[in-house]
Structures are given as structure tokens and as C-alpha cells.
């Protein structure tokens, strides 16, 4: 028995940053919006006990419950894919705000180079710099075209920062709030970077540096540097997220109907248009059809692609023929770096998720790759996020992993060591992709999303080079012992690395090259939009949320335009 509900203008599948932005913009423009969130309602009042490392950081209290749904994984297509049975490599979100609730808050703009990566790489190094198995392509927008949307996202989120990065794209406006506080660790990094002729600047931060009222009238509080951002919600309402910004904005219009425990299982399609979505109330078990003039997929990378696949919309990518675009260009990130052990004691337990200093001298094409066997790079940063005692047991090389010496060293170095880390860009490869699993199913009987992924030679070369640069900075900072990251071999889904998964529903300038156009409108179905980091044709050397936020504003503009005029927006 399926209940069909009254039709609305727009339905969003998931209510995190992207669903919230689309809901806010469309409802302000007078459209009736329904937001379907599979998780629960939550907000600042629910985070008063978040200073609990065990519950939130170790046992993942606010992340996706994998007993209901996970992904399966294999390193290559010859292996049998097996389910990711417990969270590890990346931490998927669930509930209002999605993974934007437990983010650190680093809010970068990708480099102008990123958007035209294919053209600029070919221009500078010739057409054969990368093996043809790498599926490098320009995005469907330039940095300059996306700049107004970056500006809008940063103003909504109140991003704190300083315009001191010589490699950054041009900004129309300064950061809405000043950079975060300077700490002794960051000062030491800044000095060392300058000595090495690098260009340090404060990480752009959604842990907002002062009380800020955004253009929609929402207030974001001032960061208290309490050290519980990453994997936590903010008890102060000081870490910008959908539930304290765009969601309340949308609700105030009276045009936004936000429904929880609503898990979408299918996009409904008739002819060349979608007609709405089918969802299950996860509490009552009832099935509903929500008809809508526009359907917007606003969930995480994996679920956006999965919903298109199970609804038979678009052509799945086939790695043997190279045909199809859905599921193609799945990218991750690699994490080069160096650990340093010091004699001095630091207040490592204080911090904020995006309190840090970084350099872009080895990011993008900001340095010459002529003699190097890789392209792109990564931002290299020292961040003081607030080190926690269960998760942080640093020991110098050759220390046993348990017993008396382990105890002594891990306690001694808890406040005497830190790492310089980089986010290494990831280039798409024809063997790395997403598809539907043929064996394992989720709690609703639908196939799991299957990942086929491994690091490539490009990743390994980049990792080695950038780790050495991080070690250079650590040396200049005066560490007693420096340990560059070990070289990477195969991707392993077990240890936490980063929740920066991208690709699968790539944005492109032609229908042959991607799933959506540069308004994130589906190439085949004009009233269907899909916005997530799945739109990235490759992954850059930064955190993705700033760029994702900009795309969500672009998408919202597209939906509003489409609602007036219909048809393809490009």
C-alpha cells in the first residue's frame, strides 16, 4: 500500500549542506519544497554532551548506521567485493546536517587550475603528461564563473579567513569574518614556512572567529577552541552547518516541509521526466510517493549515484568499454605528511577543527611538474584540532605498540608531537569507479553501492613527493625526530583517512562526458538535479565543502530558473 501525497514544486533527497542550500534558496523564491531526510532531527541543543571522545569519535554516534546500509569494496575488478562492515576509511553522515554536522569546518575554494585541469596540463606539459588511462577532464565551469557562488556560500557560513594566499583565485569580497586565533604551534609553522620561502596563510574556517549574522539573518556564534569539532556537532552553534544556517532560513519562509526518518528508495520517472520519489517512513514502515515538479538529489556521493542506478536513469560506466558516465571518475584523496617529535610541551588538546596554517606552494600547478611523474599536489598544513587521548598515542619509531615502553612514550609525546599533513589531489582512473553490488543488499532490499578503487602510480608519486616537503617544514620547525609518512601501496578501507569521496555523477560541458550539466541538471532528464561532491571530475588538494557549497548555490539558481522557463539550462 503506497500513499501518494499532494505534489510540490521541489523535493530534495537528503538535508545536509546541499539539501539545505537548495531548500533555502528555492523556498525564499516562493517554491514549495519538501526535504526528505532519512535520519533524525537534531540541532545545537543535542550537542551539549559532545565532549565525549568515546561515544562520538570512537563509536561514531552521529554517523551512518551501517547495519542498515553500507558500501561494498574491492581494490580491482578481479577481486570479490565485500561489505565495509564497520566505519573506517571515511565517515558517512546521517541525520539533519549530514556529514556537514561532523565536519572540521575547513572551507577552501578549489584553485582556478582545478576547473580547467585538462586544458592547462596539456598546455604546459603537452598531451602525454599522464597515461591515457587517467580520465582527466575540465569541469563545466571556470573558477571565475563559480566565484559569485563561492562568495555566497562563504557569506552564508560566515567563513573566517585571510586573503594572503598568492595562488588563490581572485575574490570579489574579503572573508566575512577575520581569521582564527594564532597559537604557538601555528606561529612556529608560519616562521618555518617563510624561512623556506613558502607562503603560509590561515586555513579558511567555518569555526567562526566572532559572532556573525549572515545575510539570511541567522546567527553563528564565536568559536571557543574547545577542541571537539571533528566527528562532533558543535555545542555552541559556532561551527557553521546546515542546521544553524540554511535549514532555519528555509523553515522561516513557510514554504519548506522537512520530514525525518524518510528514506528515499526510488526516483520515479515517466517518459523523459521524473515525477517524484518513493520513500519509506523508517519508523512506521509505510511507503509514500512524493510527486514533485523537480527532484533534487542532495545526499552524499554514494547515495546520489546509487539512486540514479537503481532507478535506471543514465548510463552506468563500464570500465571495459569506457562507455557510460554514471559511476565514473570516483576519486578519493591521499594523505602525505610528516610527524614531528619535540622536547617542548604544547597545548595540543586545545584547538578547533579548522584552526591551522597552510601553504599552497605545492598544490595544483603552483610548481613545475616538468621533471616530476605526477600532476597536481596538495595543501600542506599544520592544524591544531584538539588532540584526544584515546585516538592519539604518538610514539617515536621503533617503540613497541603496547607494554611499558609504549605507555611511557605515548604519554610523554601526547603533548610533545604533532603532524604536518597534506591533502593530496586524486586523479580519476578508468579502473576506479562505482557500480551496484550484485550480492549484498541494504535494509530496504536494494543493492549496496560497490566501490572498485585503488591508489594509482600518480597517487604514489605525489604522496612521496609531498611527504618529503612536509618533512622539510617539520625540520625547519625544529622537531627532534621527524617521521615522513611511509610510501603508500594499495588503498585499504580500514584506517580512517578522509571523508572526501568524490565523483560518480560528474558535471560536464557535454552529455558524453558526464551526468549533469553546469547547473547540476541531469543531461537526460531536465527536471532532475544531482548536487554533491559526486559532481567533481577529479578531487583537488583541499577539503571539498567550500566548492560543494558553491555548486549547491549554482544548482539552486538552476532549479529556480528551470521552474520559470523549463527546458535545458545550457
Amino acid at each position: 500500500m503506497v500513499t501518494t501525497l499532494p505534489s510540490v514544486d521541489v523535493v530534495t533527497v537528503g538535508v545536509g549542506w546541499t539539501g539545505g542550500i537548495v531548500a533555502a534558496e528555492c523556498s525564499k523564491a516562493g517554491l514549495k519544497v519538501v526535504g526528505l531526510e532519512r535520519g533524525q532531527k537534531r540541532g545545537t541543543e543535542d550537542y551539549l554532551n559532545v565532549h565525549d571522545e568515546y561515544r562520538y569519535a570512537i563509536r561514531y554516534d552521529i554517523m551512518q548506521n551501517l547495519s542498515k546500509e553500507t558500501v561494498s569494496f574491492r581494490n580491482n575488478s578481479k577481486m570479490r567485493a565485500l561489505p565495509m562492515r564497520q566505519l573506517g576509511s571515511f565517515l558517512l553522515g546521517e541525520g539533519l546536517g549530514g556529514s556537514g554536522t561532523h565536519w572540521n569546518g575547513m572551507s577552501y575554494r578549489f584553485l582556478p587550475y582545478d576547473f580547467q585541469i585538462k586544458t592547462l596540463t596539456d598546455e604546459r606539459y603537452g598531451p602525454n603528461k599522464l597515461d591515457p588511462d587517467y580520465l582527466l577532464q575540465d569541469w563545466a565551469l571556470t573558477y571565475d564563473q563559480l566565484e559569485p557562488y563561492f562568495d555566497k556560500f562563504e557569506k552564508t557560513a560566515g567563513i573566517s579567513g585571510e586573503d594572503k594566499n598568492p595562488f588563490a583565485g581572485k575574490r570579489a569580497n574579503p572573508f566575512p569574518t577575520p581569521p582564527m586565533k594564532m597559537t604557538p604551534m601555528l606561529e612556529q609553522f608560519e616562521k618555518a614556512a617563510k624561512n623556506l620561502k613558502l607562503s603560509p596563510y590561515m586555513v579558511p574556517s567555518a569555526n567562526v572567529s566572532e559572532v556573525y549574522k549572515n545575510p539570511d539573518g541567522e546567527t553563528i556564534n564565536a568559536c571557543q577552541y574547545c577542541g571537539f569539532c571533528e566527528r562532533f556537532g558543535c555545542e555552541y552553534g559556532a561551527k557553521s552547518s546546515a542546521e544553524i544556517t540554511v535549514v532555519p532560513t528555509a523553515l522561516k519562509t513557510g514554504n519548506f516541509d522537512l520530514r525525518f526518518n524518510s528514506n528515499v528508495v526510488e526516483i520515479l520517472k515517466q517518459g523523459n521526466k521524473v515525477t517524484g520519489v518513493k520513500y519509506i517512513d523508517t519508523i512506521s514502515g509505510e511507503e509514500f510517493i512524493q510527486p514533485a515538479n523537480v527532484v533534487v538529489l542532495t545526499s552524499y556521493v554514494f547515495n546520489n549515484a546509487k539512486l540514479l542506478m537503481i532507478s535506471n536513469i543514465g548510463q552506468p560506466y563500464d570500465p571495459t568499454t569506457g562507455k557510460g558516465t554514471l559511476g565514473r571518475n570516483y576519486c578519493y584523496q591521499i594523505l602525505p605528511g610528516a610527524a614531528g617529535f619535540f622536547d617542548e610541551q604544547y597545548n595540543t588538546f586545545m584547538g578547533a577543527g579548522s584552526l591551522g596554517m597552510t601553504v599552497d606552494d605545492y598544490n595544483g600547478d603552483n610548481f613545475d611538474h616538468s621533471e616530476l611523474d605526477f600532476i597536481h599536489g596538495g595543501n600542506i598544513a599544520l592544524t591544531q584540532t584538539g588532540t584526544r587521548p584515546i585516538g592519539s598515542n604518538p610514539t617515536p619509531p621503533d617503540t613497541p605498540t603496547w607494554g611499558p615502553e609504549f605507555k611511557k612514550q605515548s604519554i610523554h609525546y601526547y603533548t610533545r608531537s604533532f603532524g604536518i599533513g597534506a591533502q593530496g589531489a586524486s586523479m580519476p582512473h578508468k579502473e576506479n569507479y562505482m557500480s551496484l553490488d550484485t550480492v549484498y543488499k541494504d535494509a530496504y532490499g536494494l543493492p549496496l553501492m560497490q566501490l572498485t578503487y585503488n591508489f594509482t602510480d600518480q597517487d604514489r608519486a605525489l604522496h612521496k613527493f609531498i611527504s618529503a616537503r612536509a618533512a622539510d617544514i617539520m625540520k625547519e620547525m625544529g622537531a627532534k625526530t621527524i617521521v615522513p609518512s611511509a610510501e603508500i601501496t594499495d588503498y585499504n578501507i580500514v584506517p580512517y583517512q578522509t571523508t572526501h569521496n568524490t565523483g560518480g555523477t560528474v558535471m560536464s560541458s557535454t552529455p558524453e562526458n558526464g551526468v549533469v550539466n553546469n547547473y547540476l541538471q541531469h543531461w537526460d532528464v531536465e527536471n532532475l538535479f544531482a548536487v554533491s561532491a559526486g559532481n567533481f571530475a577529479h578531487n583537488s588538494g583541499y577539503n571539498p565543502t567550500g566548492t560543494l557549497g558553491a555548486l549547491a548555490y549554482r544548482c539552486a539558481e538552476g532549479i529556480i530558473n528551470y521552474s520559470k522557463s523549463g527546458g535545458s539550462l545550457v
Partner: protein, 247 residues
């Protein structure tokens, strides 16, 4: 609740207006610092009803293990991983075995947030945990295997062995040399080591980290509301830890 902290954390947030989103300027800071200075561990507080925190805050009763021998094997194994020394207590002194016992009896032990549907197959190491066993089942089997290995090697119970003999057995588990059913001994050892550290350093409300001594040894101040006035200081800040239970 603590009688020494006259203001509960929730009330505190209410009175400063922070929960309502009206926080402005630096008015909050002084109050926060003073509040933190009063913080004391629950373990030192008298509950006023004749019981001490020993009985109420860190119950020494077993929710999972069914006999003293298994619990004693677990206790001694965790103590070898995180031993008592001149810095302070080891796993036993921190009540880590009780922490693990309680965790095994709950969501952690029953893998209620993990994907546990079949078919099960042995995967590559890069594919992670593929056992059909729950953590509770792995610990139960693992602890019994440790005891069996002690009998096998030294004709004694594990808890009667010398420290070095215990270490030899634990090392064999760590290296995956002990045959277990449905799981490798190396994976069991990873769980055991991780759970030991969790018990040493989790908030004391979970039954380990007794008297917050795990935090005190490490210099971690537990739950503090703000470091906004200290974070720029070059000097290392020694701060008496505060547990979440002081809310």
C-alpha cells in the same frame, strides 16, 4: 549531581544565553574559567547517601563475563598492554577490565551498528573486518584461547604466569600465530589493545579511567568548555581534568 558545582552545565548555558544563540563579545569567558576551576572529578565527590562513588560511579560487577577465571585473564592481559608504572595506574587500576566487560554487554559487543549480513567470505586485508562473529563472541573465544595457550605452553593458568610468559603469549596472538575460529588471533589482539586504550582514556562515566587518572597521566583536561583565553599562550597549561558527569 555535584553539590560543589552549584550551577549545572545546562543551567549555565541557559543563563549565559549561549544555547539560545545570543552570545556576544567576551562576557562569557570569565565565567567559564571560574566554572572550570571548580570542576572536580566525580570520583572524589560524596553523594550524601552513604555510598561512595566507588560503588555508584564505577560499579564493580560483571555484566558480560560469567566466571572469575575469564575475567582475570582479561584483566591481566590488559595490564600487560597498559601496565602500572611510576607515571600511575595500569589497566587494572583504571578499571579497564570493567569498562570492557560493560562494553561487551552492550551495543559494542553485539555489533548493532555494523553490517553483519552474509554471505561471509575471507577478504583481502584491505577489505577489513569480515567475521560473522560479534565482538562479544570474539572476546569470549579469545580470552579462553589465551588461557588454553597458557596451559599448553606453561602448564599453568594465564593469571599465574610471570609477566614475560604472558607477553610471549600475547605476542603470539598479535602475530596471528594462534588458531581461532571465525577470526584471526591478530584481529582479536587489535580489538583487545584498542579496548584497553579506550578504557584507560574514555570518560569515567563508562566505568574505566578511574578517578580520571588516565587523563591526568596524559595531561588531557577532559571536558572543558573553552580554551579561548588560553589558546594563544606559549606556556603549557596544566589543567585539572573535568568529567562530563559534572554537568
Amino acid at each position: 549531581m555535584s553539590t560543589e558545582n552549584n550551577v549545572s552545565r545546562r543551567d549555565f548555558l541557559k543563563t549565559t544565553g549561549i544555547a539560545a544563540g545570543t552570545l556576544v563579545g567576551g562576557g562569557l569567558i570569565g565565567g567559564l574559567v571560574g566554572y572550570n576551576m571548580n570542576g572536580k572529578g566525580t570520583a572524589t565527590l560524596d553523594h550524601g547517601n552513604g555510598t561512595t562513588n566507588e560503588a555508584t560511579g564505577s560499579p564493580k560487577a560483571k555484566m558480560f563475563f560469567m566466571n572469575e577465571r575469564d575475567f582475570s585473564v582479561l584483566s591481566n592481559a590488559t595490564e600487560r598492554i597498559f601496565p602500572e608504572d611510576d607515571l600511575g595506574p595500569g589497566a587494572i587500576g583504571l578499571d579497564v577490565p570493567y569498562f570492557i566487560d560493560h562494553q561487551l554487554a552492550g551495543q559494542y559487543g553485539s555489533n548493532s551498528k555494523e553490517y553483519m549480513h552474509g554471505p561471509f567470505a575471507e577478504g583481502a586485508p584491505t577489505q577489513g573486518y569480515q567475521s560473522r562473529l560479534t565482538r562479544a563472541e570474539i572476546f569470549k573465544q579469545g580470552v579462553q584461547k589465551i588461557e588454553a595457550e597458557a596451559q599448553n605452553r606453561f602448564k599453568k593458568g594465564f593469571s599465574d604466569l610471570e609477566g614475560k610468559q604472558m607477553d610471549e603469549i600475547l605476542t603470539a596472538f598479535q602475530k596471528g600465530e594462534i588458531q581461532m575460529s571465525g577470526v584471526t588471533s591478530a584481529f582479536f589482539f587489535i580489538l583487545l589493545r584498542a579496548a584497553t586504550l579506550e578504557g584507560a582514556y574514555a570518560d569515567p562515566m563508562y566505568g574505566g579511567n578511574r578517578n580520571m587518572d588516565g587523563w591526568r597521566m596524559k595531561g588531557f583536561p577532559g571536558h572543558q568548555m573553552t580554551y579561548a583565553t588560553q589558546i594563544e599562550d606559549a606556556k603549557f597549561q596544566k589543567i585539572e581534568p573535568n568529567p562530563l558527569g559534572n554537568h
